[in-house]
Symmetry: C2
Subunit: 203 residues, 2 copies
Amino acid sequence: MTDKIIEFYFEFGSPYGYFAANEIEALASEMGRTVVWKPFMLGSAFAKTGSVPLREVPLKGDYCLQDWERISDYTGTPWSLPKKFPTAILAAPRGFYWLVDQGKDDLAVTYAKAAYKAYFADNRPLWTDQEAADVAKECGIDREEFLSAVQDKHVKSRLIEEGQKAIDRGVFGSPFIIIDDEAFWGWDRIAMIRDWHKQGKWS
Amino acid sequence: MTDKIIEFYFEFGSPYGYFAANEIEALASEMGRTVVWKPFMLGSAFAKTGSVPLREVPLKGDYCLQDWERISDYTGTPWSLPKKFPTAILAAPRGFYWLVDQGKDDLAVTYAKAAYKAYFADNRPLWTDQEAADVAKECGIDREEFLSAVQDKHVKSRLIEEGQKAIDRGVFGSPFIIIDDEAFWGWDRIAMIRDWHKQGKWS
């Protein structure tokens, strides 16, 4: 462990967030840092920036479909376009902070990775509470407690607050990576961060 | 020379296009390809995608300001935020195709690089016909002929047609790089293309 961190903001419904999630720990390890995982609801940021989901933008939507396929080819990260996409993924990020608030940070990260894999690699309906709870169970989390927690008003509020804190921090996309207060938006920037680190930027 | 090409679409008013323009020929050389430069008016594509200039987007606008500074630090490409930005840059791309249509492709590329440098490194008012013509003169182009050409209706139409062709091709941003019909959007992707080429993708 080190007290140097990489803040990793991501939306569970974001393909680029998913691809970055599969690379962020290797990057952090190379840099002698630990990752602080911060899921948030991208919809709140979109309301601020006036953005809409990528798939719904003419031209860009078609580009992204091809882009996700090839990032999978390029990185080896498994990929399958979810049956329902884009859609709101709520139980997973709520469950994440519910775990964190119990001091179970490592389990929360394990759950985040499993949830991403379920949605973007295994084509499971993560948008339902039931499926999000099934994934939780597979991670060794009590299924009924999880189901109850993700409908709890305090847990719901917690996620909304995290979204507001992200916006206050300047986060407007997924993934969004912050290293020593310097922000990097997009999966594409992982290569830049890696290369710049090798050149000694953060030494 | 090779008959393998990289199609390089760019908008003269685009910082990311400028940074890419400073790297695209080295990339092409590594890949044994030649660059076909294709300026277009990003505004036409934005009308299609509903996008607005980056600087005008909350959060994202501030991010970009910092991002351009650091890309300059990272790549060594000189950078200075233009006094008027964003703004329509018309004479430069019109002049570019006017040169191409005279068979002066190399001179057109020389002009494109000089115009980008004038606007984004030397803080010159490239948005005026007079300044665009001054840059042309510095490249050995007849200043009066250039000034007359960029107000010619056929030259104006030519640029509009190139913009439509770009949209028909799926181009929606700047820079936009096409290699064997595969599209890459953004300066960030140059590193990916380079790395993937080294891995043998286009061999």
